[in-house]
């Protein structure tokens, strides 16, 4: 296996880490408007992610940084091509990031509500837009012979990419609801699993449409038929297993499996894309593969050593922080110890 393939996989791993971890805190953020009746319940929900969300978001930054270091052309083409969607993602992440701190410090009811809303919107937009970004990327974008993408609104937004965005958002929401069931007690715990139960029917429909559209909009199933069918079936099976865990109140398993289904979606998109990193809708020969996009062997080797030395520690201490804050959050808990 060569370094380019290792780095393609590593970047997929970083996105998996991002969607597994930040996926649920996006979901919890969205759930603050769906299953709560008052501020104390919202505080309870946010209390489950307050110590973690920042560390989770670093997975996105690491993925971005890794693309830059390992595949500069991919980074340049994708980030400049998706200028407007990424600007909106940034704005959403900014408002969301400060809202955790600001919402608690506001004195007036109106200001607190406003920051609660920002937290919600900031949790809703990024998974949707990143879903749109990745689906439209694998579908193909207007990329010319100089690897430059000149995309307009209708390149970003198509039926397929919107369904992709909704599917990712829904998966994050379900993952978040399962996290809430696992990490809270009282009424929100019940409400979370009830809503999760209902939403799984919507997810089945969503996934079916998503898979169908993937067949028609990408070349995934032509080139890698067996693998793609396997992965699609796996996603559906994992979703049904998750659903049954939700129904049987196996909260820990439900959470792990909903995370797994998010991971599988990332795996599906990345393995369909492989060995390309971008797909050109103008001419297939303008699509970029990992060898065209990559850094020099020297840099790739260096980064491989760095990544394999650091990531185990990251996983260890992040895991430890989840262990420390493993207790269920009650309604009366103060969410800030300071």
């Amino acid at each position: 296996m060569n370094l380019q393939i290792i780095w393609f996989i590593l970047i997929a791993v970083l996105f998996i880490g991002f969607f597994f971890l930040e996926g649920f805190d996006f979901g919890v953020g969205i759930a603050t408007r769906l299953i709560t009746k008052d501020r104390s319940e919202r505080n309870q929900l946010i209390g489950t992610i307050a110590p973690f969300w920042d560390g989770n978001e670093v997975w996105l930054l690491s993925a971005g940084g890794a693309i830059f270091a390992a595949f500069p052309h991919w980074y340049a083409t994708m980030f400049s091509g998706y200028y407007i969607p990424l600007t909106i993602v940034l704005l959403a992440l900014i408002l969301r990031g400060v809202s955790f701190e600001f919402r608690m410090k506001m004195h007036s009811e109106r200001a607190r509500n406003l920051w609660d809303w920002f937290l919600f919107i900031g949790s809703l937009l990024p998974p949707f837009l990143l879903g749109v970004l990745f689906t439209s990327l694998v579908k193909g974008m207007p990329i010319d012979e100089n690897m430059t993408m000149y995309a307009g609104f209708w390149d970003y937004i198509s039926l397929y990419s919107v369904v992709g965005g909704v599917a990712v958002t829904l998966l994050c929401l379900l993952h978040g609801l399962n996290f809430i069931s696992l990490r809270t007690n009282g009424i929100v715990r019940t409400r979370a699993s009830e809503l999760s139960n209902k939403l799984y029917y919507l997810l089945y429909a969503g996934l079916a449409i998503f898979v169908l559209l993937t067949i028609f909009n990408t070349d995934f199933y032509k080139d890698k038929t067996a693998l793609m069918i396997l992965l699609s079936v796996a996603i559906v099976i994992i979703s049904t297993i998750t659903h049954s865990c939700v129904i049987r109140r196996k909260e820990a398993f439900a959470f792990l499996f909903s995370g797994l289904s998010l991971c599988m979606v990332v795996v599906l998109l990345f393995s369909g894309l492989f060995p390309r990193v971008t797909v050109s809708s103008i001419d297939p020969s303008y699509s970029m593969d990992i060898y065209m996009a990559s850094s020099s062997p020297y840099t790739l080797k260096l980064m491989t050593i760095v990544a394999f030395c650091i990531l185990p520690f990251v996983l260890a201490y992040q895991g430890w922080s989840y262990y420390i804050f493993r207790k269920r959050v009650s309604k009366a808990d103060r969410i800030n110890n300071q």
Partner: protein, 466 residues
């Protein structure tokens, strides 16, 4: 408006705004870690109170710093994609290492620190805040390693129009880095120190929680003094390094159009005609520029005009002179600010020694007002570093004009520029208001009184049970 101008404006806006918060966070993380260490060693509650109180300010600064930092990671690709292609092989690595090594540590342990006051033993909690401080320092180190390559490139070759890294050790041993990093880090201590000093001074003046704020004040003066002195010394060394590596930047911050005489005199104030490329008038200190450049009172320096000639010969026609007056003034602002703070700190020590601090209202007031200074000083420093590199992104190798994204549109960049601008204004106002509120409440405000209040919804069921 063209895309290049807008993109440069946006880069200036986002980096300068981000850099309001970075030094505060880096400096305060270290300060809080030291306070908590004092608590651990001396077992006096006042140090715990200090760590908690200044920790709140730290958290506020940290959260704004984090979110404005996300932009930096994205905008190289978004606005400067040609730059990213050219230099990604080199520049991407420190950026990715920064995320993997530093961001993960900071952001995970800050959660553990903030929510772990009652969960850990004192020792473990202390280790955690030190990890936060180390993480933020590492983050500064790696981003400056990337920046130093842009200032003083080396250890690379150019293949197929792209810069390819040959020697990673160059990135880590770059002379620019080992002056810029300590300069910036001690500057962060100065920033955090003057923030603590200013906020404490007004409280001492108003005689509120005097014991606490006097302790904080004397603590902060040490930071200001150490930070100020070392930042100045490393800054001085950096200036000499710049003379060797980026002669144009050096000439511009001194507004030295003509080659100087030997010994060279330093201009304190000048007025220049940037179009005619000449000084109109100046107040000068004889021989001082020679000292700045060579640590001795002899030696001449090259002027802007002859350096420009050389650059034109080497790189062809083009504009090679950064804005002279702006950078000249930035340099003076930075130097005067740092030296002024050192003087204020020494004065503060004397006033404390002779027990006249509380009576010296004028001094306390000056310290309070001076809070704004380090922010101006820091911005001026970055302006010199970045704008002074004009017209290059990678000095002598790649220009700003070559760097900008080919597919960027005026509408797109205008949209992002305006929305960042608006959101920054909101963040700045709220940040200032919240710091002010924490400060007004003081350290002995009944813990969590108002934070607790809204946990019970006045219209919810619970409110009626009791």
């Amino acid at each position: 408006m063209d895309v290049l101008v807008l993109s440069r404006l946006q880069f200036a806006l986002t980096t300068v705004f981000h850099f309001f918060f970075v030094p505060v966070s880096v400096g305060l993380a270290f300060s809080v870690a030291v306070m908590q260490t004092l608590y651990f060693v001396k077992k006096q509650d006042i140090y715990k109170d200090m760590a908690r109180f200044w920790g709140k300010i730290f958290i506020l600064s940290f959260s704004v710093g984090v979110v404005t930092g996300i932009i930096q990671e994205f905008q190289f690709g978004m606005n400067w994609s040609e730059y990213s292609r050219f230099v990604g092989d080199i520049f991407g690595a420190p950026l990715a290492i920064e995320a993997l090594l530093a961001f993960f540590i900071e952001s995970t342990f800050i959660g553990l620190w903030l929510f772990g006051w009652n969960k850990f033993s004192k020792g473990v909690h202390l280790v955690i805040i030190w990890l936060v401080a180390i993480g933020s320092t590492l983050s500064a180190f790696w981003i400056l390693a990337a920046n130093s390559f842009m200032q003083h490139p080396g250890g690379y070759s150019i293949e197929n129009g792209q810069a390819i890294l040959n020697d990673f050790s160059y990135i880590l041993t770059n002379s620019h880095l080992w002056l810029q990093f300590p300069h910036m880090w001690f500057g962060a201590l100065l920033t955090a120190g003057s923030l603590i000093a200013g906020l404490s001074a007004i409280k001492i003046m108003r005689q509120k929680d005097s014991a606490f704020f006097k302790k904080s004040f004397s603590f902060s003066l040490v930071l200001v003094l150490i930070g100020g002195l070392l930042a100045t010394i490393f800054g001085h060394a950096q200036t000499q390094n710049i003379l060797a590596t980026q002669p144009m930047k050096f000439a511009v911050i001194e507004a030295q159009y003509e080659d100087s005489k030997d010994p060279a005199s330093l201009a304190i104030i000048v007025w220049v005609d940037e179009d005619a490329k000449e000084r109109i008038w100046a107040i000068e200190i004889p021989s001082m520029l020679s000292f700045m450049a060579y640590n001795k009172f002899s030696g001449d320096v090259q002027g802007i005009n002859s350096i420009e000639q050389q650059l034109i010969e080497d790189n062809g026609q083009g504009s090679y002179i950064p804005p002279v007056l702006a950078l000249f003034l930035s340099f003076r602002l930075m130097t005067a600010g740092a030296l002024g703070f050192i003087a204020l700190a020494i004065l503060g020590f004397l006033l404390m020694k002779f027990k006249r601090l509380e009576r010296s209202k004028w001094y306390l007031l000056i310290m309070g007002i001076a809070i704004v200074c380090p922010f101006m000083v820091n911005s001026a420093g970055w302006l010199i570093t970045e704008l002074g590199r004009y017209p290059w992104t990678v000095y002598g190798v790649f220009t700003i004009e070559q760097s900008v994204s080919q597919n960027a549109t005026v509408g797109g960049v205008l949209f992002s520029l305006c929305s960042f601008f608006l959101i920054f204004i909101v963040l700045a106002i709220i940040f200032i208001l919240l710091v002010r509120r924490e400060w007004q409440k003081g350290p002995y405000h009944e813990q969590g009184h108002d934070e607790h209040a809204y946990l019970i919804d006045p219209y919810g069921e619970e409110a009626f049970i009791k």
